[in-house]
């Protein structure tokens, strides 16, 4: 066993993000974090209740005890206010992490993200940097209905000036969170609720601890680079965040059927690792893109266009997109399960290509 393996262990996605934030806060006094109930029990230190929540997903649990309320700031429910304040603090020398609890709430503070965070560096001739990290939660599968269950990646990747990353397990969560905080541009980190252990269907809860040998030491996963967790030669499955898990499960089943499957874990949505995608597709000649987002103007469409433009001559079949349908997220369990991309849908698509 090597030194670094010895210092690795299985931890949850939530712990992994927590470690990344803690390390950066300990090593860079300019890093601070704010958001709703990021600690919880604000103002109740005297009652020993100032770390009541540690964020809705417990990503920041324990940090206020280590770094104090100056650097771990509970906010009122004022997303436009505190995310805008994060932009201002970033412009003037801090490295804020701000929590947009659910991505569906971006509408409340979209102006600050797309008109200020994304644009100030460019508009001001490169003279101002905005090293803010926005963390947010995504995804269906938790009975949270239409407003609390979206992924909305493509809304943000649409805007030049924003970087977007979507980890798929504890290992990538820690590495990408670290890279996001250290990056000099605004970075949005999309954390999927199912990967953070939230679920109403136990079989979906395996996100906890999934695939996750996580080094104790700090490390970065470079923004803009995909990973290839499974190599193969017959078909490429491309996953984003939770759908990478779906792709890996589908790959297992397809392998049992005798196919050689390659899985790409996209990780970075903007910039996107076009090279890894093209290289893989040139090799396998077939591709299925699995994206939980709405299908119109999505990352899946973007990849499909990329493949069509740059690897057309290599393709044995048209690129296939498995996405959510062009509809909203329903509450009722059978409808919600139908909404989500599933292993079955991916396997079916792959088999119909390869048969």
């Amino acid at each position: 066993m090597t030194q670094s393996q010895e210092k690795s262990r299985q931890i949850t996605y939530v712990q992994a993000v927590n470690e990344a934030i803690e390390y950066e806060m300990a090593n860079d006094p300019d890093v601070f974090i704010m958001g709703e109930d990021i600690a919880g029990g604000a103002g109740r230190a005297n009652l020993g209740k100032q770390d009541a929540w540690g964020g809705v997903f417990r990503l920041t649990k324990g940090l206020i005890g280590k770094f104090g309320e100056d650097r771990v700031r509970d906010t009122p429910i004022s997303e436009a206010g505190f995310i805008g304040a994060g932009v201002g603090a970033a412009a003037t020398g801090m490295r804020p992490i701000v929590d947009l609890m659910f991505v569906g709430f971006f509408g409340v503070c979209g102006d600050q993200i797309v008109n200020n965070a994304a644009k100030m560096h460019y508009m001001f001739g490169g003279k101002v940097k905005i090293p803010i990290t926005i963390i947010t939660s995504t995804g269906a599968g938790t009975a949270s209905a239409a407003q609390h269950s979206e992924t909305l990646y493509s809304i943000f990747t649409h805007f030049p000036g924003l970087k977007c990353v979507s980890p798929s397990d504890p290992y990538t969560a820690k590495g990408l969170m670290t890279a996001a905080i250290r990056d000099d541009d605004p970075v949005i980190v999309f954390n999927h609720k199912l990967l953070m252990g939230r679920t109403v269907k136990p079989e979906m809860g395996k996100g906890i601890g999934f695939g996750s040998i996580v080094p104790e030491d700090s490390y970065e996963i470079p923004i803009g680079k995909a990973l290839v967790p499974i190599e193969g030669t017959d078909i490429t499955l491309i996953g984003i965040s939770y759908t990478t898990l779906v792709c890996k499960e589908a790959a297992e089943e397809l392998q049992q059927k005798g196919y050689s499957v390659e899985v790409i874990d996209l990780l970075s949505l903007s910039p996107m690792d076009n090279e890894t995608i093209i290289k893989s597709v040139m090799k396998t000649r077939n591709v299925v893109i699995v994206d939980e987002d709405y299908p119109r103007c999505s990352i899946a469409s973007d990849i499909s266009a990329l493949v069509a433009e740059e690897a057309f001559d290599y393709l044995d079949s048209p690129p296939v997109r498995i996405t959510a349908p062009h509809t909203l997220v329903p509450y009722s369990l059978p409808l919600e399960m139908e909404f989500l991309p599933s292993k079955e849908k991916v396997v079916e698509a792959a088999v119909s290509i390869l048969e």
Binding site: A42, G81, F105, H148, P334
Partner: protein
């Protein structure tokens, strides 16, 4: 409390208010049981806050619209939304108020004047202003009432909405249910000035602070506000002081951010127990008849579960319908 105020509520209204509150409480308790059985997927309990919408809805008609939040079962029941359809919605059934598409945070029934619960904090406030604008433009004499939590007071859209409603003299009542917490954040921390009611001053509308654990107080305060709105004199802001007895959502243990003493203090001012005494004091009812009302509530709730259990889940095609009215 003065007697004249007390006697201002007639018997049938008073009995309706008690029945509404006890039905709500039993409904919420049943929801909890359904959640524990894994049938109902996640909810925010309104137990403790029943008096707020009940006192207000006593003055409303079907044509008046109310709007709610993520925590809105009590609003729905007070406005007369059908219990069977509510429970069916919560279990994700096709017979639910929203055909199973909306769930606990989005119950709506426009025919009953429930223009919808909304999961985005503050998001419903301007929609209520819009409903009031319709009432004014159509001269319908209808009013709209929007409920929001102390947490929503942090959202800028509240102030845009109050300003619009005031300059246009719209028939809307803004009702802040100040239950002292937004998730785990106490309002003493998040709210400068410590008062929602005071914020009305700058918008040139009355701002009143009411004991929201007293349905009698709620009734009287909202009577004035709704009359004012209905007669074209513009909006009012009501801050109803209340308390949620349970955690923010099902699994939240509230003692991580508040104390047992505090919980006991607010529970000692329970709205249902106080209304019981009121009914007896006024000679409107007695212990025995109150028990009958309690039983009636329990029967209605049990029936709602039966109805929901026997209802089918929506067809999978329902996933794709009603995104638009028409889309070709």
């Amino acid at each position: 409390m003065t007697n004249s105020k007390k006697t201002g509520i007639d018997k049938s209204t008073a009995l309706w208010m008690y029945q509404t509150m006890i039905t709500t409480r039993k409904f919420e308790a049943e929801c909890r049981r359904q959640a524990d059985q894994g049938k109902l997927r996640g909810m925010h309990s309104s137990i403790g806050q029943e008096a707020v919408p009940t006192g207000i809805c006593a003055h409303l008609k079907d044509g008046d619209q109310i709007l709610g939040t993520h925590r809105s079962h009590h609003h729905c029941i007070a406005k007369g939304v059908n219990l069977n359809e509510m429970m069916a919605e919560l279990l994700g059934k096709a017979t639910g108020t929203n055909k199973g598409k909306g769930g606990t945070m989005h119950i709506a029934d426009i025919n009953k004047g429930m223009l919808g619960a909304n999961g985005v904090v503050g998001s419903n406030i301007p929609v209520a202003v819009g409903a009031a604008l319709t009432a004014k433009l159509k001269k319908s004499q209808n009013v709209s009432v929007v409920f929001f939590g102390d947490g929503a007071v942090g959202q800028g859209v509240l102030y845009e909405s109050m300003n619009l409603a005031s300059i246009w003299k719209l028939p809307v009542v803004f009702v802040c249910e100040n239950n002292r917490y937004a998730e785990a954040t106490p309002f003493e921390y998040s709210m400068a000035g410590q008062s929602v009611a005071k914020r009305a001053t700058g918008f040139d509308m009355p701002g009143i602070n009411v004991d929201g654990q007293s349905v009698v107080e709620m009734y009287h305060a909202s009577k004035i506000a709704i009359q004012k709105a209905r007669s074209g004199e513009g909006p009012t802001l009501i801050e109803a002081m209340t308390y949620r007895y349970q955690g923010h959502f099902g699994a939240d243990p509230p003692l991580t951010y508040r104390t047992e003493e505090e919980e006991a203090l607010y529970k000692s001012k329970d709205c249902i127990r106080r209304m019981k005494s009121y009914l007896i004091d006024m000679g409107y009812s007695d212990e025995e008849k109150i028990l009958e009302m309690d039983e009636k509530a329990q029967i209605a709730v049990s029936e709602s579960v039966k109805f929901a259990d026997e209802s089918p889940f929506p067809n999978l095609e329902e996933l794709h319908t009603e995104v638009y009215v028409k889309y070709e």
